[in-house]
């Protein structure tokens, strides 16, 4: 028996990485859950619709549009009737919902099921539970968004007959990663709300309300707030302030990043003044150049995840285990 007892070093090694065990289990649960099936079916249908409309749009312009740079990426950014919006807008709208769906009851369901105290009585750190849940949620989201992008690409190639260049594939991959990070901000926020608010239904409502507020009323909200910061003698300052404030919304960050990543001709985000484009040479940006334009946006998204996650951490560590 004695020789089977792991050495102290092994024990220390094994002690870490408990989050992987949690993540693996959660991932298994998610992938077999009804929630996942419903989501993927729904997303698939809508995404297929979006790309169908986009490809029709491309077909109508394609013959006289030999010079359009990155034609393939247009699949994701343009639309035509009957679809009201392109794929990018669809993702901007839907990714937060994915995050919320996989986050709001992550801790609450354990609490209400009575599994939290039991799981925590096994040799695992408390923080590993939330890390595992977050990683699992983010993996499912990445899987969903990834397969959606592949689905859209596939339909696009088939319908339009445009094959993506290597450059476009990289841009698409970077954009997908950004979309996952964008969804991740909402996942982390929903996780935080689920810890702060004990009732899962209330947590879901609270998180969705914030999302609705930012998405639907964001423009009015930022516009109104910008008046406080604007300099009345400078008419442009209100607009500048509004742009700055709107960057606290993950939606703005994601939209700006999408515009630049999926369109090589876009060279700036936010306010573009006449002086900044005056006598600019119209040319395509390389991937590296596009990335450097949206670097701040992507980092801001990741920082938001970090903040929400740190808060979840602090509150969860302090909470009583008892239901």
């Amino acid at each position: 028996m004695l020789d089977t007892i792991p050495s102290h070093e092994q024990q220390v090694m094994r002690r870490r990485g408990g989050w992987r065990i949690v993540a693996r289990k959660e991932l298994g649960d998610y992938l077999t859950s009804a929630r996942f099936g419903i989501l993927i079916a729904m997303l698939g249908v809508v995404a297929a619709g979006a790309v169908y409309a986009a490809s029709s749009g491309i077909r109508s312009v394609a013959p006289q549009a030999q010079e359009v740079p990155a034609l393939f990426l247009k699949l994701f950014t343009i639309t035509s009737t009957p679809m009201p919006f392109p794929f990018v807008v669809f993702v901007a709208f839907f990714a937060p919902l994915l995050g919320i769906m996989f986050g709001f009851d992550a801790i609450g369901s354990e609490r209400s099921q009575g599994t939290l105290a039991r799981v925590l009585s096994h040799p695992i750190h408390r923080d590993e539970v939330i890390i595992g849940k977050f990683v699992a949620g983010l993996s499912v989201i990445a899987l969903m968004l990834g397969s959606l992008v592949l689905l859209v690409s596939g339909i696009g190639i088939f319908r339009v007959g445009v094959v993506p260049s290597f450059d476009e594939v990289i841009r698409l991959a970077l954009w997908t990663a950004t979309a996952v990070a964008y969804s991740g901000t909402w996942l982390a926020f929903a996780l935080l709300m689920g810890i702060l608010v004990k009732k899962t239904a209330t947590a879901a409502l609270a998180t969705s309300s914030v999302w609705l507020l930012l998405t639907v009323f964001g423009q009015f909200l930022f516009g109104g707030m910008s008046r406080f910061f604007a300099n009345p003698s400078d008419p442009g300052s209100a607009l500048k302030a509004e742009v700055m404030i709107s960057r606290f919304s993950p939606l703005t960050l994601f939209q700006d990043a999408s515009t630049v990543l999926l369109d090589p001709t876009q060279r700036a985000v936010g306010l573009v003044t006449t002086s900044s484009v005056d006598r600019a040479i119209l040319s395509k940006l390389s991937i590296g150049q596009s990335m450097s334009v949206v670097w701040a946006e992507v980092v801001a998204l990741i920082a938001m995840i970090g903040i929400a996650f740190a808060l979840s951490f602090i509150y969860f560590m302090r909470q009583e285990v008892r239901a």
Binding site: D29, S121, R322
Partner: protein, 313 residues
């Protein structure tokens, strides 16, 4: 004798409320120790502190030689815990739930499957392992909870209200299981309950816990004996009768007092005088509905402390 659990002046406060009040507890190796007390006495709080899941306000403790505050993982590696109202993932089978537990305990794969089989049959769920937990009865869940705690081959088993909300047959099974675990595996058991007579039967030692303090502690048979020369008899005579005016104080009747239940009285008599009391009641032409000697001092202590708690509340 060495001790599996030692607490010294262990205290937990929630704001102004003291849930556990300077608790000194010693649980000897290999014993079944019963923590008895009404709901809200601080039993669960004590247990969570012993597991390192809740931070004590002051005091010290040692579980299997470790300090749960400094090395909670070390404690949790050796202690099996059945929480009050234990829960499982209802979308999974009993066996799948245990597999997750095995992974959390870093049990290696091929052996852990055997261990799962062993603990399942040990708790009597050998045939039900592959059914969804959703279909389990409460008693079965409780037994699965014990299996879950046994998976890590614990040296200490902490069971929080293992018999709550279970039918009498199930209670009997669970208690029998706990007793045999202590005997066969030599594991120390700390169990909490608010039901004295259930727990009394299997415990080597009990502590009555009220308002965060231990009021009586010792082996049940010692507490049962008692040193006073009196016994207390519970008498039911219908709610219209004033028993205290009928039973005039005599040498062998020291007190007659009302209980909280209308028509039920408690009469303190000289040791061995219960039969005499019964004859007296019949001679008085009272319609006696119950007459019962309260079994033990422990029983009486328990009841009195509980009633005091209720009166204070």
């Amino acid at each position: 004798m060495s001790f599996t659990i030692i607490t010294e002046q262990l205290t937990k406060q929630y704001g102004d409320r003291t849930a556990v009040d300077h608790l000194d507890l010693r649980v000897g190796d290999g014993r079944i120790f019963g923590l008895l007390g009404p709901n809200g006495a601080g039993k669960t709080t004590t247990i969570l502190m012993l597991l390192g899941l809740s931070e004590p306000t002051s005091g010290s403790m040692s579980v299997l030689g470790l300090d749960p505050r400094r090395d909670p993982l070390g404690v949790k590696r050796m202690v099996g815990y059945l929480p009050d109202a234990v829960g499982f993932y209802t979308n999974l089978t009993g066996r799948q739930n245990l597999r997750y537990t095995a992974a959390l305990n870093r049990l290696d794969k091929p052996e852990s499957e055997n261990t799962i089989d062993e603990v399942l049959s040990e708790v009597g769920l050998g045939k039900d392992g592959d059914r969804n937990v959703e279909e389990y009865s409460r008693g079965m869940r409780q037994r699965l909870g014990i299996a879950d705690a046994l998976l890590k081959a614990p040296r200490l088993l902490i069971l929080d209200e293992p018999t709550a909300a279970i039918d009498p047959e199930g209670v009997h099974e669970i208690l029998g299981l706990v007793r045999s675990l202590a005997d066969d595996r030599g594991v120390t058991v700390l169990l909490s309950s608010h039901l004295l007579n259930q727990v009394q039967a299997i415990c080597d030692e009990v502590a009555v816990f009220v308002n965060g303090k231990v009021v009586v502690q010792g082996p049940p048979h010692e507490l049962v004996g008692g040193e006073s020369g009196s016994e207390i008899v519970e008498v039911g005579v219908g709610s219209t009768v004033d028993l205290s005016s009928i039973l005039a104080p005599e040498a062998w009747i020291s007190a007659t007092s009302k209980t909280r239940i209308p028509g039920i009285w408690e009469v303190t008599v000289e040791r061995g005088s219960t039969a005499r009391l019964a004859r007296t009641l019949v001679d008085e032409h009272l319609d006696v509905t119950t007459i019962k000697r309260l079994a033990a001092d422990l029983d009486i202590a328990y009841r009195h402390y509980f009633e005091k708690v209720d009166a204070d509340a």
